[in-house]
């Protein structure tokens, strides 16, 4: 998955939870949960959706990476790259 693909996937999955999410004015290091008012249930649903879309496992240890869009993109790119892919 390229960075652009990862970004598109994350944005699309977030829109399932926050249909009005506006990414145009959000920087890559902005706190996703705060900006989008995601509570812990929303966040869990997002993780679930990302796992399904990217066919990778995201553990609780990875949650900090998903605090921002930039971190989320890096996580998805590394998880889906053939060299470092972990078992789904």
């Amino acid at each position: 998955m390229t960075e652009e693909e990862a970004r598109a996937v994350i944005e699309e999955e977030i829109r399932h939870i926050v249909p009005d999410a506006d990414f145009a004015e959000m920087t890559d290091d902005a706190e996703l949960r705060e900006e989008l008012e995601l509570d812990s249930l929303d966040f869990l649903v997002l993780i679930e959706r990302l796992c399904r879309r990217a066919h990778c496992r995201i553990d609780e240890n990875d949650y900090p990476a998903l605090r921002s869009m930039g971190g989320g993109i890096r996580l998805l790119v590394s998880r889906t790259s053939p060299d470092t892919a972990t078992q789904p």
Binding site: E12, R15, H16, V18, P19, D20, E34, E37, D39, S40, L41, L44, V45, I47, E48, C51, I58, D59, E60
Partner: protein
């Protein structure tokens, strides 16, 4: 018209899902009702046959008004519990045998109208489905088993996904949401879609105004079923209830902070072994501990009525849930003290999802015996809430935060949470409240036993 929450005085019937003569089972959706806060699906409280639809769609009636009457279907009188006894059709109006549920002689298995409808929608032959319900009745899950919900399906009018912003814009502009093409996922209508539709309508209106009747504009502004903007009315409902609460309830507040290390570690180990869909969140442990403590300690779980505290026999946990775009709803998790953590998690997820994306069920809104607010989700460390009358207690949990914490004479950094109790001093005294909060803190130290 059932009472769908302590703050409800009246409701508007939007739609009937059953017709006179339909057989209904307990739990089947009978009608959709609009309240100040939201649209709610009202279930049947018993098995029976619909006799009369009394209140037609579009009419607003007070809580307690008879909406429809049921008559018996299997030898027992059936009644909608919110209907005064006098309004219930006397037994015998419909021959019991004609409407008796259960497998029928001609080989067509029994199924409720809702299930039959579902089967028809998915092109299924009921005689070919194995019913797992009572006496071979085909249930909704049997249908789901044979033909799972199609992934992309044009949502039905009222079930369309519409963002709160879009709903507000549409209501303000008098735009019919049905005429708008949603560009969100699965056709969800977003704020921009409404703005675009409005701009199109404006453009269409300007040149047309001189030489043509305003048919385009009409098509857009004529709205057969007005989509209610609940924002203002929800604000008013909250205002009314909270004013009443602060005027009538002599509150007292207690607070305690406890170590969440054991709970977080335990959760972490559990979740590591589980697929994401089975993972638990800390809030579920806190809800479970609250339900157990509320069940144990007298004076916390129940209602203040007629100058008496009436202890409830089970814990119907109200969970304050914020609505995107403003306002809140309080779905309840009935008999929360009997639910193991995974069940509690599933109930919580379902209720929150329905608050935000669908419709709550009537049974999810009435009869809370204690309420929990988890404002910690929004980053604050503690919350001093207002008790929802006629309940007598509200528990608030702040954010789980890392703090310096003394353990065995040594200072360490620990995840901690601050729990606050707002309670009605008429029903309990501070010592009772203190025992209650302390019990929650102790339960959280042994998460494996929750």
């Amino acid at each position: 018209m059932p009472s769908l929450g302590a703050d409800m005085e009246a409701g508007t019937v939007l739609e009937w899902r059953v017709r006179s003569g339909d057989e209904v089972r307990r739990g089947d959706i009978m009608a959709v009702v609009d309240t100040e806060k939201s649209e709610i699906e009202v279930e049947s409280f018993s098995d029976g046959v619909v006799k009369d639809i009394v209140v037609q769609p579009g009419n607003k009636v007070a809580v307690g008004t008879v909406l429809a009457t049921l008559s018996e279907s299997n030898g027992r009188p059936a009644a909608e519990p919110t209907i005064p006894a006098a309004a219930v059709t006397p037994p015998g109006d419909v021959p019991a045998s004609a409407a008796a549920p259960g497998p029928q002689i001609d080989g067509v298995p029994s199924a409720s109208p809702v299930v039959r409808h579902l089967a028809a929608e998915r092109g299924l032959d009921l005689t070919k489905i194995h019913g797992t319900g009572n006496r071979g009745t085909i249930t909704r899950s049997d249908i789901e088993h044979v033909a799972p919900t199609p992934p992309v399906k044009q949502p039905r009018l009222a079930r369309r996904r519409v963002s709160p912003l879009a709903r507000r814009l549409a209501a303000a502009a008098g735009v019919d949401l049905d005429t708008i093409t949603g560009t969100g996922l699965h056709g969800a209508v977003r704020g921009d879609d409404v703005r675009r539709a409005q701009a199109d309508a404006d453009r269409a209106r300007l040149p047309a105004a001189k030489h043509a009747p305003p048919t385009t504009a009409q098509a857009i502004t004529t709205n057969p079923i007005p989509v209610a903007d609940h924002r203002d009315s929800m604000r008013r409902a909250i205002a009314r209830l909270m004013t009443k609460a602060n005027a009538q309830i002599p509150h007292y507040y207690l607070t305690t902070t406890f170590d969440m290390t054991a709970a977080i570690d335990w959760l972490h180990r559990q979740n590591e072994a589980l697929p994401v869909s089975g993972r638990l969140i800390p809030a579920v442990l806190l809800l479970r501990a609250t339900a157990l403590a509320a069940q144990d300690i007298d004076g916390i779980n129940g209602e203040w009525r007629d100058e008496h505290f009436q202890r409830a026999s089970s814990v119907n946990l109200g969970v304050v849930t914020s609505v995107r775009g403003g306002g809140l709803m309080v779905p309840i998790i009935p008999n929360a003290e009997t639910l193991a953590l995974p069940e509690l998690m599933a109930k919580l997820r379902g209720a929150v999802e329905r608050v935000r994306f669908g419709r709550l069920l009537a049974s999810e809104l009435a009869g809370a015996t204690i309420t929990v607010t988890n404002l910690g989700e929004h980053g604050v460390e503690s919350v001093y809430g207002v008790v929802f009358p006629p309940q007598v207690a509200l528990v608030g949990f702040g954010a789980v935060v890392e703090r310096p914490w003394a353990v065995d004479g040594l200072l360490g950094v620990r995840p901690v949470v601050t729990a606050t109790l707002a309670a009605d001093h008429r029903a309990s005294d501070g010592a009772v409240g203190a025992r209650f909060l302390a019990r929650i803190g102790r339960l959280m130290q042994k998460p494996g036993e929750l």
